[in-house]
Amino acid sequence: MNAPETTDKKPSPRVLVFACRWCALIGADAAGRKKTELPASFRVIPVECASMVEPDSVLRALASGADGVAVMGCHLGGCRFNDANHVAVKRMEALGDLLDTVGIGRRRLLLSFGTAHEGHEFAEVLGNFLRELGPLPELTRWRKTLLNLPAFR
């Protein structure tokens, strides 16, 4: 339904989704139960809370083949773990600055807090993100440098 347009030449961008299991994972599940058609190029890693996602993991994902990373949690004020997702938002925004600085661009990091807890919302948020990633170039050169760093080997 919300599948981005793709051509044969350019495959759909690859996205790694970190989904909080109290919110966005339920949205992803609902999208599945409704059989919403989505491109097969995203993978979901369930996490206990969005605050659990290390900035490092986002970089690692970009280094190991993802064109974009989505971090999805509960709406601000609705975190199961008190105010943990407020802290996560700040951290991820700071990571966005870092991505801009090193030339990857914060457009490759999607933050969704409370916007993906229904099936159609999950599909829409992800579909829009995939559409936005589509025209972006491959991260090949950057990936080569990063993958050769000792920390990522």
């Binding site: 097969a40 206990e48 690692r60 994902a61």
Partner: protein, 571 residues
Amino acid sequence: MPGVMVFLCRCCGRIPPTVDLLALGEKIGREEGVAVVETRDTLCLPEDRAAMLRSFEESGASGILVAACSPYGKAGDVVTTLSAACDGDRSHVRLVDIREGCAWIHRGDPAGATAKAGDLIRMNLGFLRHGKRSADAVVAVRPECIVVGAGSAGMAAALSIARAGHRVHLVERGMGGGGMLKLLSHVYPTDAGAEEKLKPSLEAISAQPLIVFHAKTRVVAATGYAGDFKIRLASGTGETNLHVGAVILATGAGVWLPRGLYRYGELKEVLTLMELERRRREGRESPRRTVFIHCVGARCPERPYCATICCPSSIKNAAWIKRADPGAEVTILHRDIMMPGAILERYYRGALEAGVRFVRFAADAPPVVSGDGKVENVSVFDAINGVEREIAADQVILSTPLVANADNAKLADLFHIGIDRYGFFREDDPLHPLETRQAGVFICGSARWPVASGDAAAQGEGAAMKALAILGRERLSARSLSRLPEGKLGHARIEDGFCSGCGNCVAVCPYEACALQKVGGALVSRANKMRCRACGSCMSVCPNGTIQMPEHNARAVGAMIRRAFSPREAR
């Protein structure tokens, strides 16, 4: 047989047409660390599940991976069964959702779906290699309880716990028990005398040997966790240290004084409801003409809430004045009448029948009290009939809301619980209204939201039951404090020798479970296992990965990330 056993579920043909299970099985079978791949029809049915368990136990494989539906579906039960077979150890069991998360959303792209299913399984195989299990923490429970505040809620809580056979420390900042009931003359909706209502409870408390009453005492320090709190009390005579298993906060609320509104403080016939209650208790008669004004200082920008108790209380007094003297003129000026429930609605009808007059005004056109030296007139624009009314009055009663105690912020800080923007204690979850974000600390009565004495007592008894669930055990495990003990990850673990004491985890922990301690001259972080709710905030800010959730550690997540996307040319 070392390695992981992989089970693929056909889900009666709801997965295969999209995901090619045959090709998938072959591909997974070649993966490193996979002992055997089996495909079954319906893993959710008992026969298939039993067969799966049997072949897993016979194989002696080190781990098991089930690729089936989503954890929110039947597969969740499958995992529970498997975990039970591994002594509740989930670190060897992994569920991969290839139905909702793959087959059902990629029906237009079978090749992509099969590749994705393969990637998902490989990711989770990687996870299984590094998944660890954290041992459950168990503490001995102190079979005593502290109840702060001896009002309706606190007394009910203390009595319930004492009757169950546990010692209770009932701490009161004033002299005796009773709380706000001591200030009232009668209580709605029964119109029973407050004193008669209070007497049995006060007698029961003094007769109950298990209740230790601490009058004129305040809580000054608190440390610890569910099952084992250390609390210091201070009174005029000195300090007392308590060692209790659970905490109940029943500190009630305060009365708001409408200084400067409706000429309160200027004309002595303008009273608050509380002052009227005192006069009624003293047996003083009311003058002939009374006007009540509702929502004074409530439902306004500073306090947008309805305090729920003011409408019934003023209707109670209005009906009393009218019944005592049928010739009296009693008018209630209100914005809305809030009398929820069958009993209060009947109570309101009773006041109407007794002859109390109700006039509605709009929030932006409040009544004006006039008079020279004494109350003479109240003018109000009747919002329903659209006419200006002049009501002659001998006294004006202002119905004001309850406000949070100023102490609440300090207590919330001591016990690490939340307060809302108006200063009331915050419940952790609407489905657990007496619990706070700190396990073992419970709230009840008007300290959490304004309630009538009967409701406060009901909440007090509820909080007592919650506390008894802890006090009644000899030993308490950290996992049992979770509302979803099966699903909870263990708790944060700090590797000794690597913590640099930076304090990032202390700053970020939403439950104040992490704290810096001096060990051998250096500061290191320590995670309190009873407080930790396993959100994982700490592990994402640790600069060197010292603090980890064993069930969801960085290595396991890293293994997942590395395997998430197989190289494009292979697809």
